[in-house]
């Protein structure tokens, strides 16, 4: 008490300008004493820190979630925040992931996958207690398409703002501009905001965009209590939440998204009990944690395939035999070794984890230098050529893959130049066939559990110019095939179409399909073995965590 009074006096003296050397010496001494006390009292931190609280789930991630706007923000970290604070029409759950009711009690597609009727749950409410009705849902579709950012690309290619009709307060009907069989699979990405609340905060016709960066207006199971960009985001359970998540009678009370960028710091935080889950660890840290029974390290293959995109339009790689030669030159085992075997060989364009759709029987080209020589001899470049391999600056694994290619290519007279670029430069290079290098390292992103999610954005002719379609593959037969795949509802018929499409891509050797990463995520054992959900981050409402 005396110390604090003395400190208070000193601070006041300092603020009032009544300072002399003795005063400063006192302050310095007090600071030193305070430092000593601070170091000596680790128990204080323990009592106030999260790890001592029951039912607090802290996720340590390297990625920020600075824009929670349901219609302009989108990446895996933002999705965690959006799923906590907003409801979507449907939600993902299970293994493999399937869609389940949330705001929509029922979603019915027509036989030609063009007209979709959505029945809303009459009990659904926003956090202010107002009802989620057809008009509110329609407004959200309109805002998403008007903003044309975030996940709008999923919807704007198949519908317009006029596609949505309110049949009655609990029913809407959506007439798509083109058939789209997996429409229900993208509905979990449309988060429904409260139009009244958003428009109350509109500034200069921005439809609340500025306000929604740092505020939420949903009806989700959590409310955001702290928004500290670059540091952490805290969400507290909404006690009046209308929906009871099946199989989770004890959801977490507080969910914290904490930014921890360095792998070693994430590992220490997990070991110290400061976080319960962490992602994007280094291979070394993941391996270190896997030896400790207190933690679980993910061992499931992911949904983000890595491939070396080859320019199918310009330069030597426009020659199919060159592409086949490069595919045969690539040492796939060495590539997996470069990531300490934390990956699965990619057989064709779809990841193995997409098990209902990936065709494991595709006959792909394997590492075979003699075969490579034979392919090259049949090409227009039998004596070799120059090839530029571009990768993201700082990604050591992508650099290693380039070196693996370079090593064997030299034997065939192919001179590989390895160029690191920052990501925006790579995106710019991929925007035209003329500037696209011969080879570019790209991880494809995944959003919904359907082959359309991979094949359309990467290989349909309309998608060239975007980085996902950096191969500049343009094949009308392939286009027709996957357009047909979108229009069919029957899974068996669709499977046959997509098997054929995969084979066509492999026959054309559009690119070098390398591997899908086993994500280096780790979590405390109390969360269980099967916690990891792979597409677009998990949903906090499915998680139970109570510290033992």
């Amino acid at each position: 008490m005396t110390v604090s009074r003395e400190l208070s006096t000193l601070v006041n003296a300092g603020l009032n300008g009544q300072h002399d050397r003795r005063c400063l010496l006192k302050l310095a001494g007090a600071a030193a004493v305070a430092s000593g006390i601070a170091i000596q009292m680790p128990g204080v931190a323990r009592r106030t820190s999260a790890q001592a609280e029951n039912n607090v789930f802290i996720y340590g991630s390297g990625q920020d979630m600075s824009n929670l706007d349901p219609h302009t923000g989108n990446d895996y970290s933002i999705l965690w925040g959006q799923r906590a604070t907003y409801d979507s029409l449907l939600r993902y759950q299970g293994d493999p992931l399937t869609v389940h009711p949330l705001l929509a009690s029922e979603v019915i597609g027509s036989d030609d996958a063009t007209v979709w009727t959505i029945n809303l749950d009459p009990a659904a409410t926003f956090q202010d207690g107002s009802s989620v009705n057809g008009e509110a849902v329609k407004w959200n579709f309109e805002r998403l398409i008007a903003k044309n950012l975030g996940v709008a690309w999923m919807f704007s290619a198949i519908m317009t703002a006029d596609s949505v009709a309110v049949v009655d307060p609990q029913t809407i009907e959506i007439t798509l501009a083109a058939p789209f069989a997996p429409f229900d699979l993208i509905l979990p990405y449309l988060f429904i905001a409260n139009p009244t609340l958003v428009m109350e905060n509109e500034v200069d016709g921005d439809m609340g965009e500025g306000w929604l960066l740092s505020n939420t207006a949903g009806g989700g199971p959590y409310t955001m209590s702290r928004y500290e960009p670059g540091s952490l985001y805290q969400f507290d359970r909404n006690p009046d939440y209308w929906f009871e998540t099946p199989n989770n009678s004890n959801p977490v009370d507080t969910f914290v998204w904490r930014i921890i960028r360095e792998s070693s710091t994430k590992r220490i935080a997990l070991e110290a009990g400061d976080v319960q889950y962490t992602d994007t660890l280094s291979v070394e840290d993941a391996e270190g944690l896997s030896a400790d029974e207190r933690f679980v390290v993910n061992d499931r293959g992911g949904f983000s395939p890595f491939s070396i995109k080859l320019n199918n339009q310009v330069g030597p790689t426009s020659d199919i035999n060159v592409r086949k030669a490069l595919a045969a030159l690539f040492d796939y085992d060495a590539a997996l070794g470069a990531v300490s075997d934390r990956g699965e060989r990619l057989i064709g364009p779809l990841p193995a984890a997409l098990e209902d759709w990936a065709n494991p029987d595709l006959e792909v080209i394997n590492f075979d230098v003699e075969a490579a020589k034979a392919y090259l001899a049949e090409s227009e470049y039998p004596d070799g050529f120059d090839l530029e391999y571009v990768y993201v600056t700082g990604l050591a694994m992508e650099e290693a893959f380039g070196l693996i290619l370079l090593e064997k290519a030299a034997e065939l007279g192919i001179n590989v130049t390895i160029t690191p670029l920052v990501w925006p430069d790579m995106v710019a290079r991929a925007s035209s066939a003329e500037t696209m290098p011969g080879a570019m390292a790209v991880f494809a992103s995944a959003n919904y559990y359907d082959p359309d999610n991979y094949l359309w954005p990467q290989y349909h002719s309309t998608q060239v110019g975007g980085w996902a379609a950096a191969s500049w593959y343009q094949n009308p037969d392939f286009d027709a095939l996957i357009e047909q795949g979108r229009s069919l509802v029957d899974p068996t018929e669709r499977k046959a179409i997509y098997d054929q499409a995969q084979q066509m891509l492999v026959d054309d050797q559009v690119e070098i399909w390398v591997y899908t990463e086993i994500a280096n995520d780790a979590w405390v054992a109390e969360l269980g073995d099967n916690y990891f959900e792979i597409i677009g981050g998990s949903d906090i409402r499915n998680i139970t965590y109570t510290q033992a």
Binding site: P42, L149, E209, E228, G230, S264, D425, G465
Partner: protein, 337 residues
Amino acid sequence: MNLFRYVTRRIVLIVPVLFGVSILTFFLSRVVPGDPARLAAGPQGTQATYDQIRAEFGLDDPLLVQYWHYFTGLLTGDWGNSILSRRPVFNDLTTYWPATLELVLVAMTIATTVGIPLGVIAAVRADRLADQAARVISLLGVSMPAFWLAVLLQLLFGLKLDWLPVSGRLPTLVPPPPDLTGLFLLDSLLAGEWSTFGEALRHIILPALTLSFASLATIARFTRASLLEVLHNDYVRTARAKGLIERRVIVGHALRNAFIPTLTMIGLSFGWSMGGSVLVETVYDWPGIGLYATKSALTLDFMPIMGIALLYGLVFSLINLTVDVMYGFLDPRVSHG
């Protein structure tokens, strides 16, 4: 009065410096290859989305028009928005900058309060055991990578001894003090939140120690070298002959005259620490401006890059001004006229 006029004139001169910085960073950012609008459009972004983003951020306007909008925005406090996060740059700077400032201030406090005495001891006991020890510390300071030292300190004091937290500015569930300056130590003191102050202090110790080490070493070496130069001067001999105690001779006479090069180095170290804080911020999960700058640079996010350059230009100008003013206090021969 001379000093007041001098400071006013120097502050006025900062304006054209910042104007120059704004022109330079603006045009440099527009001539580098790469297009953040394509990145912001997303992986499956259509041409329409791309065009919309370019139009929204005025990227299709002539460069001079773009600069005029930027410049007039600066004057009204609108420093533009990040094209990727869409957040206002000015808000981001006010969010991230105080964390870095607090870290650098504490680190420089450690560096000077330890570095200067270390240099003095090394000079006074030149080539003896204390000097050799100081030399080893200095060598370690300048040669040990900050990120490596950071991990070592985390493992020792965080995980092994469990004395200090390894990351963040406060425990996860402890809310920040009321935001007055953004400096948690100061804000918690002003708000009388002693437990928060204690936590903030515990959290800043390791990152500040790490960041201070290189500066501490440099300051110690500069102090030693400068002090050695003056210790054999006549006025020091005279002071001793007058019977002054040794501490008074060293601190009151020798060090004061030898301090100008050290002061220059402290000013430079302050700047270097701000620029070099990114590694420390990364390892200790310190939400400062270094990380923000790195991320913006890697994604070619123009507006934050330009905002950071302006902020750093201002800070460096103010540091130089402060150092120049302090020269006059240390050595009356230095005129501020």
